[in-house]
């Protein structure tokens, strides 16, 4: 009965603070899934008419296999079960029921002492989402992602420990990172938002939200998340660069602070591309203020520090053109040479911020999740009946 109480409120009413991205996310997911269904034909295949008991029994079987530590076999068993259930012409309701049935199965296993058994289950669905992507089953990939995230939230909420919150935060961040694409940030941003709700100190989630809001030109929100990140990691110069540019673009009050940060990021200790952007953007701000001489001085200083920088040279040529010094401008243009093909420009590197170190995070999550397997095995019991009490 304790297990029921642990999960029941979440099943009946799953309410949480909503990020600005969430409504857009669900709309996007709905449209995308409909498109995928139309394209792949998923949803028009034949599903087996499994009843609730059979589904729960099947899911318990999956969990039993998982509890032995054979994750590959558990994934295959999950694939068999889920593709058997989902696949009719109206999968939405069926998936919702399916989701509830799986949660009920878990609820029956849980009590306050056994919450850690959720960790390997969370990772099972995490892995399943990747598996479905590889097998071109987008509907089930999305379903698995949702399962993983919902369970991670339950685990963090009910365990209420720092370690559980950190684990759950990284699960969501890692899933968000796997979806991250600079031109389409809504899905990732939602997961980053949920991650920082359970683990406010997750640096990737904060940076991802900062970058996502910047792309939406919501600089105030971006500043909020990036500032939080920099309070924890003051030496993160990429975050500092994004924060400074958001400040410069946001309002007059913060503009000077942003410009000061940019000048600091021109230091030789910073990465080359960060320095280049810092010079470029200080000069652009000076040009916006019609301080042409100052802008020229900034760019010349930048070119001295970073000789061969194509974009700084172009800026200088444009400034010289504006000052009616075409011969000098042509001289500068003449210095621009093709760069190394494989080295991206500073402005591309800035634009395509990508989460890094996610493979290591995943390995760490898997190790952590493995600690929950004995608890899961104990709950499942060897030879225990598959159907649990409802």
């Amino acid at each position: 009965m304790q297990g029921r109480q642990l999960l029941a409120p979440r099943i009946e009413s799953r309410q949480r603070p909503r990020s600005g991205f969430r409504v857009g996310l669900w709309l996007a997911v709905a449209v995308w899934l409909c498109t995928q269904l139309a394209v792949t034909g998923i949803g028009h295949g034949k599903s087996q008419k499994l009843g609730p008991n059979e589904i729960q029994s099947g899911y318990r079987e999956v969990l039993s296999i998982l509890s032995t530590g054979d994750r590959e076999a558990a994934l295959e068993a999950l694939f068999e079960l889920e593709t058997a259930v989902v696949g009719d012409k109206q999968p939405w309701k069926r998936v919702e029921d399916f989701w509830r049935l799986k949660l009920r199965t878990l609820r029956d296993l849980l009590d306050a002492e056994s919450l850690a058994l959720l960790k390997p289950v969370i990772m099972l669905h995490y892995e399943a989402s990747q598996m479905y992507v590889e097998r071109e089953r987008p509907f089930l990939a999305s379903h698995s992602r949702v399962m993983s995230v919902e369970l991670a939230e339950i685990y963090a909420d009910r365990s209420n420990s720092g370690a559980a919150r950190e684990f759950s935060g990284w699960v969501m961040t890692s899933l968000g990172a796997s979806l991250w694409h600079p031109s389409s940030v809504i899905s990732s941003a939602d997961l980053f938002f949920r991650a920082q709700m359970v683990d406010p100190g997750n640096p990737i989630a904060l940076m991802g939200l900062g970058a996502a809001y910047e792309r939406k030109a919501n600089y105030q929100k971006s500043i909020e998340y990036l500032s939080r990140l920099l309070e924890m990691e003051p030496d993160d110069s990429v975050a500092a660069l994004h924060l400074a540019l958001c400040q410069v673009r946001s309002n007059v009050t913060l503009r000077d602070e942003g410009l000061q940060t940019l000048k600091g990021l021109q230091s030789p200790e910073e990465q080359t591309w960060v320095r280049s952007i810092a010079y470029q953007e200080v000069a652009r701000a000076q040009l916006a203020d019609e301080a042409v001489e100052a802008a020229e001085a900034t760019i010349r200083e930048g070119l001295e520090a970073l000789p061969g920088d194509q974009q700084l040279a172009l800026q200088l040529a444009l400034i010289l053109e504006g000052k009616r010094r075409p011969k000098e401008a042509l001289g500068v243009i003449g210095t621009i040479e093709p760069g190394e093909a494989e080295i991206p420009s500073p402005r591309l590197l800035y634009d395509v911020w990508e989460p890094t170190g996610m493979q290591e995070i995943r390995v760490r999550l898997e190790k952590d999740a493995a600690l929950g397997l004995p608890i899961l095995a104990g709950k499942m019991g060897v030879g225990a009946p598959a159907e649990g009490g409802q």
Binding site: E321, I336, S345, L348
Partner: protein, 390 residues
């Protein structure tokens, strides 16, 4: 007998010499004339009926080859204050050659001269395609509302200098890039004597460039072994292309091939628009779109600009192209690419070149609107829409 034949030979030689007394001289520029920017060159040769070809060489470079009068052309000698050598080689139908030369002086610092032959490249189309049978008197040039006196008039196949500016960003990967390279290759193959071109490949950075060259093999080589990668910086590279064109003489053209819009440039399109206005080069854009794509203006964001700012950039790019007298050729079928390149080349082969000295030049750097009208019905006339009065 010997002395008689000697006398006869001398008489025949003298008569022959008298009959073929080929002469050539420069009417413009005069030896005392300071020349900058666009310069009208007018060559006289007599007797005209004995002239087979007239070759003009400026500062050691072949600039024009005439096979019939008038021997008149506009050349751009650049803005540098330096001596310029104009040479002409005239060849008679009998194979006789004569040369003449003019060296123009350096302008001393306290001298004031009036420059500014304005050159207009005009495309005239009727219901059945381009119209090539118009005469000088059919055109009317209006500069800031005032009719101007035309001092040069040419039509047909005038040598050109082109920059083939190819977007090699990631979105061009595969068939798109292959088709673009093939189209550019066809363009190079169709170049005629005295035409020259530069190949410039870009993504978010300058990837590859050649010098201006008439060597088709060299240019074609630059169009091989190209891989698509990276982001897109149209503004930066259009500015670079226009700047490099300023160093060459004659009719200048940029042919931009890109499927997208600017994302990663450091230069605002507004600055490039100013450059386009002052350079007087024709800009053509072959814009590749997906079949069925209806929206003309792209809707996207990046870390650098939001949707609205991107719309402004796109609008400015279109304005630069329109003002230059070039055009946008939208291609939504890769099979039509060769045709698009060929169409631009054909258009360039079928232009009128009108020259005039503005009657009310103020040299105050203001923008002056220019219109060309044709005194015949149902004709579409396209040329650049103005110039900066420097």
């Amino acid at each position: 007998m010997k002395s008689l034949s000697l006398v006869l030979s001398l008489i025949v030689a003298a008569v022959a010499s008298q009959a073929g007394a080929l002469e050539v001289w420069f009417e413009r520029p005069r030896p005392s004339e300071f020349v900058f920017g666009e310069v009208e060159v007018l060559i006289r040769a007599a007797p005209e009926e004995e002239v087979e070809t007239v070759q003009l060489i400026v500062d050691g470079r072949d600039v024009a080859l005439f096979d019939r009068p008038p021997f008149r052309v506009a050349v751009n000698v650049g803005l540098e204050n330096m001596e310029h050598e104009f040479q002409v080689v005239v060849r008679s139908v009998d194979g006789e050659t004569k040369t003449a030369a003019v060296v123009t002086p350096i302008l001393q610092i306290d001298e004031v001269v009036d420059l500014g032959l304005q050159q207009l490249y005009v495309t005239v189309s009727g219901l059945n395609g381009r119209v090539l049978n118009l005469e000088q008197q059919d055109f009317r040039i209006v500069d800031e509302g005032k009719r101007q006196e035309m001092v040069t008039f040419e039509r047909g196949d005038i040598p050109l200098t082109a920059t083939l500016l190819l977007d090699c960003s990631l979105s061009m990967k595969g068939e798109r890039l292959a088709a673009a390279l093939q189209g550019a290759h066809e363009f190079v193959e169709e170049m005629k004597a005295f035409d020259q071109a530069m190949v410039m490949l870009f993504s978010d950075r300058l990837l590859r460039t050649t010098e201006f060259s008439e060597d088709r093999e060299l240019l074609s080589r630059a169009l091989t072994d190209v891989e698509a990668a990276g982001g897109t910086s149209i503004n930066d590279h259009l500015f670079l292309a226009l700047s490099r064109l300023e160093a060459v003489q004659g009719r200048r053209v940029v042919v931009l091939f890109s499927d997208g819009s600017d994302v990663h440039s450091v230069l605002p399109m507004e600055g490039v628009l100013q450059k386009a206005r002052s350079s007087q080069a024709l800009i053509y854009w072959i814009q590749l779109r997906d079949p069925g794509e209806e929206s003309e203006v792209p809707e996207y964001t990046s870390s650098w600009r939001n949707v609205e700012a991107n719309r402004r950039e796109f609008k400015d790019l279109r304005q630069a192209i329109q003002e230059s007298g070039g055009r946008i050729e939208v291609v939504d079928n890769l099979a039509e690419l060769d045709e698009a390149f060929a169409g631009i080349l054909a258009e360039l082969r079928e232009q009128y070149v009108l020259g005039y000295y503005p009657s009310q030049a103020n040299h105050d750097g203001t923008w002056r609107n220019v219109r060309v009208r044709v005194e015949k019905p149902n004709l579409d006339v396209r040329t650049r829409e103005g110039y900066f009065d420097y």
